[in-house]
Subunit: 340 residues, 2 copies
Amino acid sequence: MNPPSSKRRRATGRATLQDVALAAGVSPITASRALRGERSVAAELVQRVTAAVAQLGYVPDPAARALASSRSNQVVVLIPLLSNALFVDLLDAAQRTLLAAGYQSLIGVTHYHPEEEEALLRTYLMNRPAGLLVTGFDRTEAARALIHGSGVPCVHVMENRGEPGLYSVGFSQQAAGHAMTAELMRRGYRRIAFAAAQLDPRTLQRAQGYREALGAAHDPALEFMDAAPSSFALGAAMFERVLNTVPDVDAIFFNNDDLAQGALLQALRLGIRVPERVAVTGFNDLTGGGQMLPPLSTVRTPRGEIGLEAARMLVALMRNEAVAEPCLDLGFELVLRESC
Amino acid sequence: MNPPSSKRRRATGRATLQDVALAAGVSPITASRALRGERSVAAELVQRVTAAVAQLGYVPDPAARALASSRSNQVVVLIPLLSNALFVDLLDAAQRTLLAAGYQSLIGVTHYHPEEEEALLRTYLMNRPAGLLVTGFDRTEAARALIHGSGVPCVHVMENRGEPGLYSVGFSQQAAGHAMTAELMRRGYRRIAFAAAQLDPRTLQRAQGYREALGAAHDPALEFMDAAPSSFALGAAMFERVLNTVPDVDAIFFNNDDLAQGALLQALRLGIRVPERVAVTGFNDLTGGGQMLPPLSTVRTPRGEIGLEAARMLVALMRNEAVAEPCLDLGFELVLRESC
DNA sequence: CTGAAAGCGCTTACAG
DNA sequence: CTGAAAGCGCTTACAG
């Protein structure tokens, strides 16, 4: 230990808490408390500490903090894909909110593989993150145990699940699938196909909503499921496949805007009129849909708000504050343009 | 200090280096060295340490490492935007490569604002990152000083600059702008407009290449620069603006595929034939271009490879290894489809 | 409301 | 090639 008389700038040249305490004429613990805004420090001392911090240009060392408190200022955010604008919007909003609250984001991309998610969790949990933001509820048992065992506050995004102890911000994928299908029925479409890619859990929930809305009218032959990732090209291919397989189809509900936009382009290429010959709708309301010919009808999903609210909820949890609504449903909105 | 006899599992229940050392019958320092793969540890001891690690399920604490060595295992990656697929591709490749090499990424979005970049740098540098990946060379003097003063290895992406001490992986934006323009000229187009958005430094470099290729034929009236972010909608608007302002235009070189795709859609809407009435080309070869009507001619930029190679270069720097080519030019490629 | 002591779990010199 | 000592810069109990 250094004798108190030999205190000096830290090896790196940066000022330490010690320096601040010395300059403020308080103990390091008091300086620490003042810095973190713990009440129970006299106002005057807080002021002296603040002044010393400013004067010395002191910045706390996150590593030292993390080591001493066994908790970092970083939040792990796990999303399936970076190549889907949906998750990028979510991420952008969450990251911005977290940063404003003093937390840094550690981003992990799972590529829709539960095993990859588990590996990322294992790696990132080593950092003792302050919080966790994960997508949906579909994960390995081990991942679930890892999350629970870590004791780190966790918010789930994109879906809701009303179990006690679970926090989530999302909307009902099934209700959204139901609503768009019902709208198509209301408009008089009778042979409504459902075309989906990726086949992740949320896609399947939308399919469930589609079936539910159709009720007795549901025909399995009208469901087209392709596990490949969605893209314009796949949408184009699926569009043709649907028309060829089910000649009397009068509407196609694509599970994603990428697919639907690709289908619209293919219809143009083929000279097939939308919505006269066949209606086309999408999902998510990604950018560009309104520019299509005809403009795409779709379901607007509130991913930005989800990112924002999930980050807020997580911040509350990390600060041990109460969370009013642990299962926050942000809804969705039908955007009816000209493609149906 | 604990007397050696009272060593136990750490407070959190996780095994510590001490535990590993004890189990392996070596000193903690030796265990530490064995773990980090420092040669100068006898093979047999390494083996004993490895076994102890496996047996105890030991995972090192990054915070303790960072504090003791004043260097973390995190790399800061700064990109302008998350809403541009270009940077997402770059990021994805870089992050994957870094993770495989044992580094975590701390992602910062600058929104093309040097001040935001500077603030992010200031925040993230507190973490003593092991490395830095930044976009381009356009930043505040303070940011430059921050980077240099930190002593943290830094690789610049998207552009090249041959100054000693600077590391970069990219391609010549100007040469790319030149090449596409020259190709249009070669095909007989004479009134070639240049339409750009965002107006970031790389956009301006492409404009420079465009002017250079045109030489004496260059006409400032054919340059359309809009500082708004690029989008389908803006591309559509610019397309009309160009045609209305310069009726004899016969080709439009859009600075970005978003813009060009929006223009193509607008041409369809207006019934203007591409490339017969006017040719359209884009930049970057983003997804969807090949699906357009007509398929979009564009410049393919190697952002994935840039991310990969930049990460590799940074890993070499962080390991104090030699870097063969500190100014790596990965080139570009004209993708000539039917829109010109 | 404030502080002295101890310790978080590693690694960096310094020896030998 | 290996180790004993010291310390990285904070915060957590424990007192008062």
